[in-house]
Amino acid sequence: LTELRERRRMADEVENELSFYRRMLHGRIDLLRFELRRRRGEERRSLIEALPHILADAPGGNAESSASHRPRHVVADLPPLPDVGKREVDQVLGTDIFARLDEIDETEIERAIAGLIEVEERISEQRRRVQAVADRLAKAVADRYRHEGESDSVVR
């Protein structure tokens, strides 16, 4: 069981890190998409005014029905991010497009969005795979408890 837990903890750590980057990418993509609509006259509010609308998730989606998305204990803390700066996701997130938003044109914003979406799709796919591993290990831990009861207390 301890070995199962350790493998699960490592899968959770990677899942946590991927989820964090994924949410950063989502925020960035949705902000730039709003800015494009604003420049095209489809939105009247400024980015700052519309922030809650831009960053909130669409209520429910089909998430409520999908079996795997049930309440679980999550901690809202910054995950340990190894090797920051070396990876592709850090490059796309590191650029500070919001420092020079009014100096760049629409095509550059469209290009930035396309680059972010490409990285986001890869990260979401990796996340799905790690979640499948984490869920299998969670099931194995659950089975151990069901068959053997609680051998040693993990609560310390």
């Binding site: 949410r23 960035r28 909130a56 049930r70 910054l78 500070d96 938003l101 969670a138 659950a142 609560v155």
Partner: protein
């Protein structure tokens, strides 16, 4: 390039430049999406995620205004704590838990405290219902009603003056925040002792949820009960824990 962000910090901290401040808010705003998404887990449907985000943005702006870049700390860690604090503060201030449910929860908690003191252990559902003079089904309906309000909400409901939310007290198996971990060490030990003294079923639900990170559905499969029953047991366990830690 990341040095442009440093340039924003320099300009904002040196001259208070509003445009630099807005650039920083936009650059770090996805952190609010991350925190609001996670604090929102288990909250009831009537809490709008866009509201959580707007409370979180005030926390982010506060963090940007107060941050001192020269001290060499990581802004993201500081910002996430301020964002989380701002959302939880606002959740505690809101009176979104129906009064009747809040009153019922108080009544159950009071009865539990009396029985725990008398029996020196957590009462069974039957003992609790008997003590309150209500049928067992009514008690379980009341627990179900309280638990459907969501898992974080339970703490908020039982301590409106702002006691530490369960989510802040439980050890984070990922161990990301060493300073907070050091401070919380004592609280954790008290919490662990209290959990280990709960009856088997209650202890198992808390262990599997907070320490083994299982979902309510997975815990239901281990115990052989429905997910909503797990939620009720969780609600009762948190109440019992609060009584014991409060002593």
């Amino acid at each position: 390039a990341p040095d442009e962000v440093a340039g924003l910090w320099e300009r904002f901290k040196a001259t208070g430049d509003e445009r630099a401040r807005e650039g920083l808010i936009l650059h770090y705003s996805p952190l609010v999406k991350f925190v609001a998404g996670r604090v929102g887990v288990g909250l009831p449907r009537n809490v709008d995620q866009a509201d959580l985000v707007s409370y979180g943005i005030f926390g982010l702006i506060d963090a940007i205004d107060k941050f001192e870049p020269e001290r060499g700390f990581k802004f993201e860690t500081y910002a996430i704590n301020r964002i989380k604090g701002a959302i939880l503060d606002e959740l505690r201030a809101l009176d979104w838990v129906p009064r009747s449910v809040r009153a019922r929860a108080r009544e159950i908690e009071r009865s539990m405290a009396e029985l725990e003191h008398r029996l020196q252990r957590t009462p069974t559902d039957e003992e609790l219902a008997d003590h309150m003079g209500i049928p067992l089904e009514d008690l379980q309906d009341a627990l179900a009603e309280i638990s459907t309000l969501g898992l974080v909400a339970l703490d908020e409901m039982l301590s409106p003056e702002g006691g530490a939310a369960m989510v802040d007290l439980v050890p984070d198996p990922r161990g990301t925040n060493p300073e907070a971990a050091f401070q919380a060490e004592e609280t954790r030990r008290i919490l662990a002792d209290a959990i280990n003294r709960l009856p088997d079923r209650e202890r198992l639900v808390l262990t599997l949820y907070y320490y083994e990170g299982l979902t309510l559905a997975e815990i239901g499969e281990v115990l052989g009960v429905t997910e909503s029953r797990v939620c009720q047991i969780h609600a009762k366990s948190v109440m019992s824990l609060r009584n014991r830690i409060g002593e």
